[in-house]
Symmetry: C2
């Protein structure tokens, strides 16, 4: 088969790779129906995260089970399934606490931009959909694998509740789906921080009530103005830089909640500053597996259409174009079809 | 009157200071019944926090109201009262959210090691006790003003619940009262990190179930062993250094809660490390005012005796000896009587 391999900054190749086989008895092999490029793929693509040699890429996926190992009980060949970017046995203490993305058997999926994928811990990682998604549902089902699950975690970790005021830092696909999630959780006011017209439009469609185009201190000042000087109850940090993190912390009220869901790059938080900000801080790799059953339901019932974040669809072999379009912010998120 | 003034490292003087008067109509003047030295007083005493000239000291207090300003309605002369180290109007949005220590009218009390004290925002800051505390109750009532309120916040902010496993980093008075608080909140297992025999004894008396004498990575390893490799549900960080903060973060399970309640000194948290630790983090100046009614009840009813943290009582004029005893760790906490 052929799949995506990152060789270095701005150098993604679509090239021959071995078709995966069952290795562990708990594995499954999936025939990918759709995959995509993640915002986090752009860190190494831009050279901001070191590579250890040529690296197969991709961790968002859904598709049909081709084959399962002999220890797999729940997942069956022929099922249409979605899985998290982090594998989990879904039975260890961390999984039982709802932190499947810190499962003792966690592995990070990293070869999903390909026609076939080996998924370890298949029984704990994969969730079957009720029937095969229609072509219209496919993009939205794909989002549950990471980008929606991560946006949902951002809202959950920031304690979004009915009636609260929420600010979202970052207008990438995760931020946009954080808005959709906050809306689903009943937030009264959702302030999107965005300076790109097409993203503002989607933010409003997903449930944002206000747009702030300023960044940094000016953006924080605008949020303070909008909340009578109090600050937001919940702030979702969906970028991962020092500036965005401080922007999020400063936009929250004392006692408010700040979540951060992308791997921070170059972020250092000063203890004293955090202390006097008086906020709750929670983040990490999103426990997507916990949310998958609910998110699949919401998509299949038509309650939400998170697949709208895909504003470009390409055949998998054009994966290099997909990276380029996202890097240059010509696309919010690119769906790839094998 | 004479009160404590810090001139520089290890230089506390008991000297003439102006007796305080009502300045704002919302002020009260208190005749101090008991005050004490706080662990946080030791940072500037040790030269680890810069001074801006000679600085009157003290922020833990209880006593009898001498006089109130003309706008004070609830607090009356003659009442025995306790107040927080942070003043609050108890009506602003932050106060209503339970974060009185970030009140829009917050001032930090800093002249309480003296016979008289001016307390701004008297109606919002002070809470009368039901009758005058007995000599036996006085020390315990004094703790509600800061050290117990802060230990209680540490347990609350770390989400201590019935049945949980709690670790406490730091065996100073705040850490010890964090243990007492966790016990009151129903924690099943409370692991005290302490290497001092007298403090271990008090920790066990306050409700600790286990003692860990190792620090740093070795201490974390011991906690991991004791929790079957899972980590603690809640960790109370009651020191404020880089080492203690990392120790706390590493001792918590993914999805666990870490609180920090002393002003961090020289603490820098790496975003990526925090992300993969997957913990909740919350701290700041303890909203003591929120807890005062409950804590006063617990003390006056005899349910708790937090005053046991005072292992030395001195007349106020010996305040320099009090600082010395705490600096040299000869005393856990020193009560001062005017």
């Amino acid at each position: 088969m052929r799949g995506a391999v990152l060789y270095g900054p701005h150098d993604v190749r679509f090239e021959d790779r071995e078709t995966p086989d069952i290795i562990e008895p708990t594995d499954a092999i999936i025939r990918i129906a759709a995959t995509c490029v993640c915002g986090s793929d752009l860190w190494p693509y831009r050279g901001l995260q070191p590579l250890n040699g040529p690296t197969p890429m991709g961790h968002e996926y859904c598709g049909v089970v081709e084959e399962v190992g002999r220890a797999v009980r729940r997942i069956k060949p022929g099922q249409f399934v979605v899985g998290s970017f982090a594998t989990s046995d879904n039975t260890c203490p961390h999984c039982n606490f709802g932190y499947q993305s810190s499962c003792v058997k966690r592995e990070f999926i990293s070869r999903a931009q390909a026609p076939f994928l080996r998924v370890p811990q298949a029984d704990g990682t994969l969730v079957p959909t009720p029937g095969v998604p229609s072509p219209e549902q496919l993009a939205s089902i794909l989002t549950t694998s990471d980008v929606l699950g991560t946006g949902w975690f951002a809202a959950d970790a920031a304690n979004v509740k009915p009636g609260t005021t929420v600010a979202v830092v970052g207008d990438g696909a995760v931020g946009l789906l954080g808005i959709l999630s906050a809306r689903q959780m009943g937030a009264e006011r959702i302030i999107a921080m965005s300076r790109h017209e097409s993203r503002q439009k989607l933010a409003l469609e997903f449930g944002a009530t206000d747009i702030v185009t300023q960044r940094g201190d000016a953006g924080v000042a605008e949020i303070m103005d909008m909340t009578d000087g109090i600050g937001a109850d919940s702030v979702l940090e969906c970028v991962g830089t020092q500036q965005s993190m401080l922007q999020a912390i400063h936009a929250a009220r004392p006692g408010g909640y700040v979540s951060y869901v992308g791997v921070p790059h170059g972020v250092e938080l000063n203890g004293e500053e955090l202390f006097f900000a008086h906020v709750h801080l929670h983040g990490g790799p999103a426990p997507v597996r916990k949310y998958l059953p609910k998110l699949i339901d919401l998509v299949m019932s038509g309650a939400i259409t998170p697949g709208k974040v895909f504003d470009l669809t390409l055949p998998l072999e054009k994966v290099a174009d997909a990276y380029r379009a996202m890097d240059e912010r010509r696309a919010i998120k690119v769906l790839l079809q094998p």
